[in-house]
Symmetry: C2
Subunit: 340 residues, 2 copies
């Protein structure tokens, strides 16, 4: 019913000032008298003016929109980060285009082409391996969780991650302190810095506690899914077993838990279990799961602020931010207390 949207020109006609002045008032840019300002603002409100972002973007070559590239939005951890990113960016009047890549290079490529076409002012990579990073080497970018392996020379980006090494170490210490000696790690892939760091931290803590390298068995899984955890746990248990298991993602731990119980193994009696990310499933699973917690809110907030800094042309305060993590102890390691 209402007019689709009035343009700056119509406001100009209505108020009797030129379009240039209207634009100046809108952007609070340049000089104009108090009266002019009042008159224009009144008209803007009254006629419900909505700026045409296409026109503005065309002229200024920048648009208050950033792309968010995420491997799987149905993963609760990623969803939470995405949510906080959006909240923060929205508060700075940026909008976000969320792209789900499913970890597929060709999908990511198409998404990036689209983002470039949209003239987005920056890109946020949530835990993604950027296969197509070269396409946007000149664009402001922030990586969350995973470091880009390629195109590292292009300078215009930052990395925000939580302390994965520490997270792995906390997991190991918890298991060791609770008496575990035959340790096992289920790690997601072998080429992701995030998960490698978790393993490294775990190993180091085990070494410090006097274990030999051979006392820690590491299994690689190709997917983060409950099913993968289930299958792998069944296989490893039947092939010799362990008394402490650390999974670099909660879903794996949940699957492992199910498999072990199906084998008649008691948790935490015979096997103790630690997951990662502290997702809802960890709270409410069959056996409440001890898990490494990282603050998605803080990650999102910092990442958004950093990207905005880069977009504004300021060097970010820090190029590489590492956030602390802590362990939430639950029944799967037989504990009540929560340790920082």
């Amino acid at each position: 019913m209402k007019p689709d949207s009035v343009s700056i020109r119509e406001i100009s006609k209505i108020t009797g000032v030129s379009v240039a002045t209207v634009s100046r008032v809108i952007n609070n840019n340049g000089r104009f008298s108090k009266e002019t300002e009042a008159r224009v603002k009144k008209a803007l409100k009254e006629y419900n003016y909505t700026p045409n972002l296409a026109a503005r973007g065309l002229r200024t070559k920048r648009i208050a929109t950033v792309g968010v590239v995420v491997p799987d939005i149905t993963n609760e951890y990623f969803a939470r980060i995405t949510l906080h990113l959006q909240e923060r960016l929205f508060a700075h009047s940026y909008s976000t285009i969320i792209c789900n890549t499913d970890e597929k290079a060709d999908i990511e490529r198409r998404h990036l082409d689209m983002l470039l076409s949209q003239q987005v002012s920056g890109v946020m990579y949530v835990s993604g391996t950027p296969h197509a990073f070269d396409r946007l080497s000149h664009l402001p970018a922030v990586f969350i969780d995973r470091e880009p392996q390629t195109a590292r020379e292009a300078g215009n980006y930052s990395l925000i991650e939580s302390d994965n090494f520490l997270g792995g170490a906390l997991a190991a210490r918890e298991l060791l302190q609770k008496g575990c000696r035959r340790l096992c790690v289920f790690k997601y892939r072998d080429d992701i810095s995030t998960h490698n760091a978790r393993e490294a931290g775990f190993r180091q803590a085990a070494r410090e506690a006097g274990l030999q390298a051979g006392d820690v068995r590491v299994e690689i899984v190709p997917d983060v899914s409950v099913l993968q955890g289930y299958e792998k746990a069944k296989a490893v248990w039947q092939a010799g077993g362990f008394d402490g298991l650390f999974c670099t993602a909660d879903a794996l731990a949940v699957g492992a838990c199910n498999a072990l119980r199906a084998e008649g193994v008691e948790i935490p009696g015979q096997v103790k279990l630690v997951g990662y990310d502290d997702t809802a499933i960890a709270h409410y699973g069959a056996v409440p799961l001890t898990s490494v917690h990282q603050s998605t809110e803080e990650i999102g907030r910092l990442a958004a602020d950093t990207l905005l800094q880069i977009i504004d042309g300021n060097q970010p305060e820090r190029r590489h931010i590492t956030l602390p993590v802590h362990l939430v102890v639950r029944a799967s390691t037989g504990g009540q207390s929560e340790e920082a």
Copy 2:
């Protein structure tokens, strides 16, 4: 490194044809010879031409982007729908701007203003009560799950939902068939068509089985959260109890399950429990949860196709689509079999 992006004009200079012809080739629109086409296409590829969507949007007043308004992206059910929406829209070369409203009217309003500024060609409402629907009464829109209560006269929209009435009825029949007679329903709010329909279906099935209206107790909860389910279950149990509980969302059921077990109640021995949405937590919770399953994939696919039809100016085949649901029976009602 690479040139930011070549424009149509540069392609025109390179190939020696006019910009108009280049545009025609790009859009496969109008007449041009085979040779011209080949020459232009070669140049486009070679110089890595990327269309400027701002310019195109400015000229054509429409842009291949739709807004997706969702109350809470961290809710697995919404996230799955959003994912499938995006996949489908992306396949038709539309991009999506995902907006999280947190069910807050003012946030929704700001999001909608932004979407209008972006000149999006349509809006998808995922299970949201459109508080600000009037802002976009002229825009193509598809509602998923919840029917708009206001501005209903504006004709340009469709509604996709699953059969909530049937879902409620299936839940009731399952509980009744397993011997429950003192039934209780935890319903999310009292003003949401979706959840009201679930309750209505539940009541009707109970009536058909010979129960009196008084045999079904209904409790309203203000939030879909595990905590709410926990508190409400504790209170209701201590105030008299029930032997069959239906929650209109899985999270509530998980909370209720925890509370009841904390009270020493056996599930499914003393109380049987049915949830809704069949989310991961239903599979892997402490007691695997019987739940009503709706296909997020189908909902997403249909919604996307319908919105595209409306955008293209065709009346959608059906203005109101209702999808079937089925019950997945698990331990919380003591069952193994899966019923359609």
